[in-house]
Symmetry: C2
């Protein structure tokens, strides 16, 4: 167990290192934080912290820098979440309020988050899995060609073409549309397969093929679109990674392009509350020198998707967490209103 003062020393090291991006020595520490003890004492504490693996020195006779483990302790025990100031909160709200549709909400959120944190922002589109169906629409484009449009309560719209095995009349189309909506409107996605199971039975033989085709397309849409989409922004902030950014930036850019990786990353993060993944805690190797701060957001009490930022392990955790939390909260509000 570490003494109280040693924790203070660790906190001071993290804060200074985040600020200066340079290894911090015992003398500088005592000068900038009044710990009430001499450099020599701090040196002893540092030696202890190093033994425990919380800090390390790049080379002998250099200052110390926090390790991933050190940041972990800092985040868990030493740092709070820095709340946004009132003007900042107003700015967030104003900025998001201008959005006209879901795409716009997500786009604005990404920009906002990137600007506030000065890091790379990642926002997941609201998931279909936990959404409910608002409406299903069928349009006849050609005698044997339909378009299926699915509208969710989060404002998301998905469309699919359906090639019918046989021509399908307007009356049957209207019938199917009505039956479909009366069964699934307002219901959760996960319930839909069960609810439409026997729908084809109500139709004439000649139309059944088309109906089952439509239904399977609908179910496919629900499943396929579980492959969530993402929006990313603020990649220019990658240049603020530190002096060695040329080495680090490539794998990070590659990770950002692989939406699968990012989605997995967000998916692994805890479902409730904010998650911070530091350095090697990230399963994906290319992100081993980054930290990911993420949190779920949603229109109701339940999270429908996640958002977060990717930045250097050497980041301002309290500030970043504050920004991420605030943005998530306001996005949730916006979604609830629309």
């Amino acid at each position: 167990m570490l003494s109280e003062r040693r924790l203070q020393v660790l906190r001071a090291i993290v804060q200074d290192y985040v600020g200066t991006e340079e290894p911090v020595g015992s003398k500088a520490l005592t000068e900038r934080h009044n710990l009430g003890v001499s450099p020599a004492t701090v040196r002893n504490d540092m030696a202890a912290l190093e033994d425990e693996g919380f800090i390390a020195q790049p080379h002998t006779s250099a200052g110390r820098i926090p390790t991933d483990k050190g940041y972990r302790l800092f985040v868990d025990k030493l740092a709070g979440v820095k709340p946004m100031t009132a003007p900042e909160r107003r700015a967030i709200q104003n900025f998001l309020d201008g959005a006209v549709d879901l795409d716009d909400v997500v786009a604005r959120t990404v920009r906002l988050l990137a600007q506030l944190t000065r890091q790379v922002a990642v926002v997941q589109y609201p998931s279909l899995t936990r959404s409910t169906v608002r409406h299903v629409e069928l349009l006849s484009l050609a005698p044997a060609r339909l378009m299926l449009v699915l509208i969710t309560d989060t404002g998301r719209v998905e469309q699919r073409m359906v090639d019918c095995p046989a021509p399908f009349g307007e009356a049957a189309l209207a019938d199917l549309r009505a039956r479909l909506n009366s069964r699934v409107a307002g219901r959760r996605f996960s319930d839909v397969p069960r609810l439409v199971e026997d729908l084809a039975d109500a139709f004439e033989n000649e139309d059944r093929g088309t109906v089952t085709t439509v239904l399977s397309t609908l179910l496919e849409t629900l499943v396929e679109e579980n492959e969530e989409r993402l929006m990313i922004g603020g990649t220019a902030n990658l240049t603020r990674f530190g002096h060695d950014f040329p080495l680090v930036i490539r794998p990070v850019l590659e990770a950002l392009e692989e939406q699968v990786v990012l989605l997995k990353l967000l998916g692994e993060a805890g479902d409730s509350g904010m998650t911070v993944r530091i350095g090697h805690e990230n399963a994906y190797e290319g992100l081993n020198s980054t930290s990911v701060v993420s949190v779920g957001y949603g229109s109701g009490g339940e999270a429908v998707a996640k958002l977060g930022v990717v930045g250097p392990t050497r980041m301002d955790y309290p500030g970043t967490m504050g920004a991420v939390r605030a943005v998530a909260r306001y996005v949730g509000q916006i979604l609830a209103e629309s």
Copy 2:
């Protein structure tokens, strides 16, 4: 006017520099290309080329590197477009054929282009301006709330919410839907305003407010969505910019985030044929050390949007142009089929 041999020297310089990324000297040139003359002669030619501004030396006693003007001459007079090999063409077609919808086509195109050229790829979504309306759909979500869905011949779908001034019955809705489609289906976007001008006249007084609201929303959609969308990929290739990439990468990333900038860039490019913008020829300052190769693509003879790549001025122009042209051609085919 430059002699034939001097042009050969310039070509050799460009090719070597693109390959090695290092200033190329007279001796190396004579060794790698059999120009049939001695280094001394080449030196004279180089001096002349430098006087004309086609090449420059980073410092005295270094080799020469091409200037923007030199690349320009190379592209205009010395380089052809390198056609794709048959296997490459097959790979392109196979890869694009797997696409399921418009988003997927664009996403695959971006990936493909980035991989083929090993540079940053930019693909513009097919424009609405030159498209035609395939279908307009109206859905009743609530008594006084409609959803307007616009489907284009390029497979693009846009939706808008419409808040009605008064409740709007199902019968009136069906009527409006039918009238609307009979007038605009298959017509060009630019013709739509004229075609729906007097549509409200056919309705009862109480419904007219809603009809005009719907119509103005429709017209807004046409105009607003002229703000085209883009997809970008292959940003990890920015790390291949050269030794000084840390300096260059930031403004480029910023430019890529500003879709407005990119759209303007693509917009300025010539409407027909391939356009190559080299270094300072790009109006946007952040892209002054990049070249942009772009070309229009479309389902018919007419281009509906553009695609291209952004790379270092020191790029393999013939290969890049070949890849861009081939991809544009195949995307056009795919769009025509769907």
